[in-house]
């Protein structure tokens, strides 16, 4: 008897859950009443705020935060809130968070996802909910292959960054022997592939794993290959560990890596001495020399120097805010607004105009090389277009 009762109760609970879920899904389609002023809208940020690559995500979140802070000051009667989705940079955690963002009808737009793997894993959900996104930093080219509609990229992709890094290795460093390592992530492999294409032949190639700690075998291969330059496609934790172990084993070359490594945390992992001289690229201009009052405002609010993509995040967040200001309070209206957008970002100076597949207008794409000097990442030179 008791068992039966329990079963009945269980069944009721399951039914209730299903009904609740269905109701939640239905509310996705409902749009907040157009025309009237909607004042409790939210702007999402999607990226790593904790975890191995949080250093990158936090700067972006801070850029978005600054934009909102300023907007809310000027529009105190109708504020926009920040909703954070901390993915830890993990593609496995992304779909659940994407569903959460898609289901919250107050979220009118999303800055992010920050990394390529998590973007790949969540685009389908965003498309289903017609939620417009602008990523300030996911650079894998294939993200725009499918016509997602909702996808926009506020920076150049690795078809710009990879070849530029390759040209830098070839023309500036004049390296004859280059060893290429990637971390098998959506971003890392893509970037390494582009670099290899430009270099033609390489001294050797290896693939490591995200979260790997011991790189002894890879280091042995790098040393034996006689390479003077090591290109790493991946994020800063593995890059720092690999470089630290390579330098400790007596390798004396230069590491070149992309925007996933372009963060002060890279130096924290590798140590000042090992990191010195490392060249880091980014399809962005230095955030520390951004235009207008951005750097001063950022420092005032966050109490730190702006990091990679902080300025881009700030500018793309402002695109959404301009839309809200202009009365675009539904996802569909916002999407149309972004697709037709043509304006200059106040921090980056880049003119944001998106192509049909969501890519930034190619004339606006620039790639910079940075260098690690005395324990800090400093801008070096803009890499000329090929």
């Amino acid at each position: 008897m008791r068992q039966q009762l329990a079963r009945v109760l269980g069944g009721v609970a399951v039914l209730a859950l299903v009904a609740g879920g269905a109701a939640a899904c239905k509310s996705d389609d409902a749009t907040p009443g157009a025309g009237s002023k909607v004042c409790d809208l939210k702007l999402g940020f999607f990226g790593a705020l904790t975890g191995d690559a949080a250093g990158l995500g936090i700067h972006m979140r801070n850029g978005v935060k600054l934009a909102l802070e300023q907007y809310n000051k000027d529009n105190a009667d109708c504020k926009v809130a920040l909703e954070e989705y901390d993915s830890q940079g993990d593609p496995a955690k992304a779909p659940a968070l994407a569903t959460k963002a898609a289901g919250d009808t107050k979220v009118i737009g999303l800055v992010g996802p920050a990394f390529s793997g998590e973007t790949e894993a969540s685009l389908d959900t965003f498309k289903g909910a017609n939620l417009p996104i602008i990523t300030p930093s996911a650079t894998r080219p294939s993200l725009s292959d499918k016509d997602w509609g909702v996808f926009h990229r506020g920076v150049g992709n690795d078809l710009a960054q990879g070849p530029a890094a390759g040209r830098y290795i070839k023309d500036v460093l004049k390296a004859e022997k280059v060893y290429v390592v990637d971390d098998q992530s959506a971003y890392g492999t893509g970037l390494a592939t582009e670099v290899v294409k430009v270099l033609g032949t390489v001294a050797g190639q290896d693939k490591v794993q995200v979260k790997q700690v011991d790189f002894a075998a890879t280091v042995a291969k790098i040393k034996a290959s006689g390479a003077t330059v090591l290109f790493f496609g991946g994020y800063y934790t593995e890059a720092g560990l690999l470089l630290k172990q390579a330098k400790a084993a007596g390798w004396n070359g230069v590491m070149v890596a992309g925007d996933g490594v372009n963060d002060a945390n890279f130096i924290k992992v590798a140590g000042d001495a090992a990191a010195e001289g490392t060249v880091l690229t980014c399809p962005c201009a230095p955030a520390t020399s951004a235009k207008g009052s951005f750097v001063a405002d950022y420092k005032a609010l966050i109490n730190a120097e702006p990091g990679t993509y902080a300025d881009v995040s700030y500018d793309v967040a402002k695109i959404f805010l301009e839309g809200i200001k202009a009365g675009k309070t539904t996802r569909a209206d916002m999407l149309a607004f972004i697709d037709g957008y043509n304006g200059t970002g106040s921090a980056t100076g880049v003119t944001y105009k998106f192509e049909k597949n969501g890519e930034l207008d190619p004339t606006q794409v620039l790639v910079w090389a940075f260098e690690v000097k005395g324990g800090a990442v400093v801008p070096k030179v803009e890499i000329p277009k090929g």
Binding site: T50, V213, L241
Partner: protein
Amino acid sequence: MDFSELFRNFPELTTTGLTQGAIYALVALGYTLVYGVLRLINFAHSEVFMVGTFAAMWTWNALGFNQNLSPSGVLISAGVLIAGLLAAVAVSSATAVAVELTAYRPLRKRNAPPLAFLISAIGASFVIMEIIGIATDRAPYGNMPELVSNKPLFTILGAEITPVQIVIVVGALVMLVGLDWFINNTRLGRGVRAVAQDPDSAALMGVNKGRVIGLVFLLGGVMAGVAAVFANLKYGFTKFNLGFLFGLKAFTAAVLGGIGNLRGAVLGGLLLGLVENYASALVGTQFRDLVAFVVLIAVLMFRPTGILGESLGRARA
């Protein structure tokens, strides 16, 4: 298949593989000790190792040593190293005993089925990992001083030997010999063997079972603490989920050598370190774990109880 890569780098792959394997071996001892006595896989052991790495790092930092400091004299370095070692051993063994007291002992008192212990173990592992994860922002930590030089000391057959490698391999072997002697020659060790062989008879003969179980967790924690300091010396890096990978590999090593068997754990650890390195060179680092586990399965097909067999209680231990 890149045989030239393997042969060209063979000496270096061997030395670095042995170093890595020595760390696996020390962690594996903890799995094997607990399994030998309780027939329980203590999945929380990986976190016992992880908290040790943080304890040592924080001790070094508190003493004013960080990664950007140039190496100091041998005596000072040794002193700082030992301070870190004591901290790691203390924290790791305390964690191990705490896990036993909170996650396992209450279940044992109620005669819970083995599955309950397994879930309790996984739960304890998550709790510790998440606490450290939240406390450290899940960030990677690389701020560790170079206490033992990693500059080559001399060369044997083309392999450069560094002081770090010597310290780790010799240290691990010393720990094993000490543990082996302790289990085989002391009164407490006899108690451990007795409980491993037949818990009920041992209890009838006056062995305090609860104390013996506490002792094996303590010993496992000590080994993990030493392993944690060695990992810090080798990688100069830690983070909240560091234990997961090391724990998995160490558990594999314990099974490879014969779980429950102390010498087996060390043999398995060293072997796993070597296999991983050779596989990385032969077929690429992306196949490293695949090859390691294929080797494990192949060994288990021919020797289902591992290379040396299960035997903490029997004479071979």
